[in-house]
Symmetry: C2
Subunit: 365 residues, 2 copies
């Protein structure tokens, strides 16, 4: 059974050879052109629909569902090019998996292992680069950079981070966690490519910069929140401050990371400590505004088990314990030609399993 | 003599009551409407001109200079509203004053005083928030945030950072320092408002986030590089890696910081360690792209003397040594109602002193 049936209908932007960009929804292994529906759905990117707000989103979903339930023209995915589904305004990335944060501290900062003192008091985050958010399938050129004192060259410790991105529709500031569903349109899978050697040398005291700014890949599909069902919030101890309460929903999304043809990890999103609603409330708590097209990502999703981690830094213990792929080769970090695919599934609002799209990229020299 | 004569002619965006936004240049204490010149100069923001590249910039400057030399209609500044002069794509902020970096280390991290080990090997930077870049004069609402464990409220250590911003015109990636003049259109003064208490609690390990994302003010005027003259590069020891050479020009800009009606500091831009050309080369060295409308700021400009620092953190030693203002009041950090104005001058390409505009803001509760 397809995970892209009428219960899912994620939005994307496609074009046919020599054709213009159009909005579409995925139905099975085909795309249904939404331009026939007019209005915001006849635009060349999702931004107009994003700005329409919850009533507009519901109306669009009703129209799209009705269209899909008829006998619409289905354009095979193999015949289209998929594009970045929306114009990214500000891109923010969080660090909200406790397992990931503990693993990173233990691996990279053994002298200060454990969580930073504020980690359980606020969702730590930073701003990333919007200009280099690219759609799944875009080749990832191995970044150059300073790998240590006096050494400039291609990164030798190129890594991935499997994340879930949240796409902001309605602008706002000083949002409460309860404003989440009124402002966030949907989710998209994210690979926050990271050069660990560049990062280690550059990141104090202002955080990661060139280690992550060369490319961030996103799925071509944005799954609307209305296709998903929230799960119980994570247990949080100590209790967060009032502006981060109520925590808002968790989401029981199951990710999968494939390294070339080998599935190496299955990160469980339900294991995240901070919720997306809390990230949004924190992000705007100082008075900062979010805009239509803002993308904020969860941070690397890592569960408690070794085969549930969202980065190769954790999977291979910084390269010290390489993994064996199906073809018998071993890997510490990414080699040129390697392909990484992050995909995901969830039990959707209709009670059936739905696909969250996939984000893939191949490393080129 | 005006610092805004025909040798300067900085660009901005203005509107008259109930009128649309138009490009203009400042001439004395008036604005000259550029829409009569048509083309990119008839647009409602600078972005089209920015994208035109060096030949377009030169043609525009010739046309604007000719217009100003005639008897154009002069609209008094008092009759117009000035707007953000361009749409900001990615905003990046550097940390390139050695005096500032040493002062901050000594004040905030006395246990690790001195420069971080990589400081003289690369221009440290981070990404900021584009959505909250605002034009001079926009009131600055005191940010709320976590000031420490269990404490959420208005920042008690609200500060400024006097900086120089560089406005990117022509997109590119992997730029050399020698590409600087082909890609950067001009400069604008920047106040990177900073909440030191929020920053101290949040910034490890991913850098400052909410401490700076609530507002970044820029001058309404962008001075084209062609109005400026480069000065000798700063002395750099150790010699930077090849991708950061040649260093590119320094700029002998003199900033001024006024706290209410008292001039408290005169930061000398010539004292910066890393050049803007090196910042641009570093920013794109990993393959990251810059776009039309990108803004990258120098980092706080601090000279060696106490009355040359670009932040109040440094001026008052983190509030421990308050300054006395002209009205007899004393200040550690910003109080509600305080107004800060950063202005600047340079000896321009024509050999006469020119004004760099000003960026001002008043703190509101």
């Amino acid at each position: 059974m397809s995970r892209y049936g009428s219960e899912n209908l994620p939005y994307g932007v496609f074009s046919r050879p020599r054709g213009e960009r159009r909005l579409g929804v995925r139905l099975g292994s085909s795309v249904v052109d939404l331009s026939v529906l007019g209005g915001q759905l006849a635009a060349p990117s999702l931004n107009a629909l994003l700005a329409a707000g919850p009533a507009g989103w519901a109306a669009a979903r009703a129209a799209v569902t009705e269209l899909a339930a008829g006998s619409p023209e289905r354009i095979p995915l193999s015949e289209v090019t998929l594009h970045l589904p929306f114009e990214v305004a500000d891109y923010t990335d969080f660090y909200s998996s406790e397992h990931h944060a503990r693993n990173v501290s233990a691996i990279l900062r053994p002298g200060e292992a454990g969580l930073p003192p504020h980690w359980k008091h606020l969702p730590i985050g930073y701003h990333g680069r919007s200009s280099t958010v690219v759609v799944s399938g875009t080749p990832i050129r191995r970044p150059h950079g300073q790998l240590g004192e006096g050494v400039f060259g291609p990164s030798r410790r190129l890594d991935v981070e499997a994340e879930v991105g949240f796409v902001v529709g309605v602008p706002g500031r000083r949002l409460r966690t309860t404003d989440f569903a009124g402002h966030v349109f949907g989710i998209t899978l994210v690979n926050d490519w990271s050069a660990r050697d560049i990062q280690a040398w550059e990141y104090r005291p202002l955080g990661p910069f060139l280690a992550k700014s060369f490319a961030t890949s996103v799925s071509p599909w944005v799954v609307p929140l209305s296709a998903l069902v929230g799960s119980s919030s994570p247990l949080q101890d100590p209790q967060p401050l009032d502006y981060l309460l109520p925590a808002g929903p968790g989401f029981d999304l199951r990710l999968s990371v494939e390294w070339n043809d080998t599935r190496v990890s299955a990160p469980p999103f339900a294991s995240m400590y901070w919720t997306a609603a809390q990230q949004l409330a924190h992000l705007t708590s100082n008075g900062a505004s979010v805009r239509t097209g803002d993308l904020f990502a969860s941070g690397t999703v890592s569960g408690p088990a070794r085969d549930e981690v969202g980065s190769f830094l954790e999977l291979t213990r910084n390269g010290a314990e390489p993994v064996k792929l199906a073809d018998g080769s071993v890997r510490g970090f990414l080699e040129d030609g390697d392909k990484v695919t992050i995909s995901g599934t969830a039990i959707g609002a209709a009670g059936v399993e739905i696909g969250l799209g996939e984000v893939t990229g191949t490393v080129v020299p």
